[in-house]
């Protein structure tokens, strides 16, 4: 009975503190999508995520999850600053949190829950580190733990806010590979990032926002010089040459 996941965002405007933080955002995604939300700091990426997650009321417009219930279907990986790192949780503890909806009020985690946690951790290659406190992991490993938590939850939509901040380039690749495999299973993965590096080329679709919608589509089509200037000002064009597509520019030198 599980319907195909999908998100239809239709003319959404969100206000924060009396001002429009986002105006007239419209896009449709899924099933099976790896989507990036790009924009400079303060462009409204987190606001958009909060709206999709149902944490903020919409001033106008609508968000349709194609009949899916948010609870259970959606998993959210907040920015690093929103996690309470004082709380001493092991990797296993964090992933088990994802089983909350499957365990009854007075029940303890059963065999199926433990099995689900194990499979999820194996999938992100962290089963060996299950008893390590999550604070002792690297930025990339922490993100993989949160992905495992979403897997244990059996979520069909995964929202990751600033997923690559504090994650070194090598580890970013590993995260993208796991997310691509989720995409191939029909899940929807939406990632926000302020940083327009090569990683942007790995998304199926990118939504570029700076309080309003600048572009939506496959990266090759979305990253036009105009859009980059809208996002990052005139030096956005440098991004276009040096980061997004380093091999085809006017610079005579070649990358090794």
């Amino acid at each position: 009975m599980t319907s195909e996941p999908g998100i239809i965002v239709d003319g959404v405007t969100v206000e924060r503190g009396g001002h429009a933080a986002l105006t007239d955002i419209t896009f449709e995604v899924g099933p099976g999508a790896l989507m990036g939300v790009l924009g400079p700091n303060g462009a409204g990426k987190s606001t958009l995520f909060d709206a999709i997650a149902g944490l903020l009321p919409l001033a106008s417009g609508a968000i349709d999850l194609r009949g899916m219930e948010r609870k259970g279907a959606m998993a959210y990986v907040p920015q690093r600053d929103n996690i309470n790192w004082r709380f001493p949780a092991s990797v296993h503890d964090v992933v088990m949190m994802g089983r909350g909806n499957n365990i009854g009020w007075l029940r303890r985690p059963g065999r199926r829950d433990k099995q689900a946690v194990r499979e999820s951790l194996e999938r992100v290659a962290l089963w060996d580190k299950r008893s390590v406190p999550i604070t002792q992991l690297s930025g990339g490993e922490r993100q993989r733990v949160f992905i495992a938590r979403a897997l244990a939850q059996e979520a069909s939509i995964l929202l990751m806010d600033e997923a690559f901040s504090g994650v070194d380039v090598g580890a970013q690749e590993g995260i993208v590979e796991v997310l691509q495999s989720l995409r191939d299973e029909g899940k929807i993965v939406i990632i926000s990032t302020h940083d327009l590096t090569n990683i942007a080329q790995r998304f199926d679709q990118v939504l570029c926002i700076n309080h309003h919608m600048c572009a939506y589509g496959p990266p090759d089509e979305a990253f036009t010089p105009q859009v980059l200037e809208e996002l990052y000002g005139s030096h956005g064009l440098e991004f276009a040459h040096h980061h997004v597509d380093p091999h085809h520019d006017d610079d005579g030198r070649r990358l090794p």
Partner: protein, 307 residues
């Protein structure tokens, strides 16, 4: 030595005090582990001070400060949330307002001639023990208070068990918890209600002013020593019981107020554990510097020889 430990139990009040000391020693750090992780120490202090009017009325009406303090504490927690939502002031500010206002009300009630006269008439000529409320009077608990403490402790354990998963999720990741459908505000209020119950139990031993020392300090020590949340609770409870029982004995033998003694012991344990950690850290640093220096000397020497 044996006489020092066992002797006091020829008095009935000592057995009652021991039971309450153990309950307080366990319950305060167990809920304190959440209070510390969620950064709610000020809230705990505020709730402790806010129950004073309830204790004053309870002492007069029932002879025990406990029962009426419970709804007053829960009410104060709700009021704090309500004020910050309605006026848009920060929660920190609302806590300050409710804390000071309720504590002042309690002091005014306790010192008003009307109250003192009524107390003398209803309570057989005794005057209210204000000092006992402020710094604790564990040797003075009666049987009714022992039963109430046991009942409240059972309620708190049941509540913490019931809300365990929600509490853990919202403490670690409040935003993610909300997205998966956990009603974070309900969980927060449930925790504050349980906290109010524990504070009321704890006040008998450590008093309004110092119940914080039992709530925060042993749990904070637990955080220094344990790697898992359950470990924090267990270590905190061990230190809590040690502090409370030792405070009780010193109060009996040396005729010192129990609350401050418990608080000092808990603080001393924290200090010792923290100092050990710091010492280990600086030893590591010194070793690093020493190896670095030796390495540099060796390098200069080789270069000097070869040059």
């Amino acid at each position: 030595m044996i006489d020092y430990v066992v002797g006091p139990f020829q008095y009935g009040f000592m057995a009652r005090a021991l039971v309450v000391a153990i309950i307080v020693g366990v319950m305060c750090p167990v809920i304190g582990a959440y209070v510390v992780a969620r950064g709610r120490a000020f809230m705990g202090d505020a709730l402790a001070h806010s129950v004073l009017p309830g204790m004053a009325v309870g002492l007069l009406a029932t002879g025990s400060a406990l029962l009426i303090a419970v709804p007053v504490g829960v009410g104060a927690a709700l009021l704090i949330g309500y004020i910050s939502r309605r006026t848009g002031s920060s929660e920190d500010t609302s806590i300050g307002i409710v804390f000071a206002g309720a504590f002042a009300l309690g002091l005014v009630i306790l010192s008003s001639p009307l109250y003192i006269n009524a107390f003398l008439r209803l309570r057989g000529g005794k005057s209210p023990d204000i000092e006992g409320l402020l710094v604790g009077e564990i040797l003075g608990v009666n049987m009714q208070e022992v039963y109430i403490s046991l009942g409240l402790a059972a309620l708190v354990i049941a509540g913490l068990y019931l809300f365990h998963r929600q509490l853990v999720y919202t403490t670690f990741d409040p935003v993610g918890a909300q997205v998966v459908g956990i009603r974070t505000r309900l969980v927060e209020y449930a925790l504050l209600a349980l906290l109010a119950l524990v504070i009321v139990i704890g006040i008998q031993a450590a008093g309004i002013v110092l119940v914080m020392a039992m709530l925060i300090t042993p749990a904070a020590t637990g955080y220094l020593l344990a790697r898992r949340f359950v470990g924090v609770m267990v270590i905190g409870a061990l230190i809590g019981v040690l502090s409370a029982v030792a405070g009780m004995y010193l109060s009996f033998h040396a005729n010192m107020p129990a609350g401050p003694v418990m608080a000092l012991i808990a603080t001393g344990v924290f200090g010792a554990v923290a100092a050990r950690g710091l010492a280990a850290q600086s030893a590591r640093r010194l070793r690093l510097i020493a190896t670095g220096a030796l390495g540099a000397v060796a390098a200069v020497r080789t270069r000097w020889k070869s040059g």
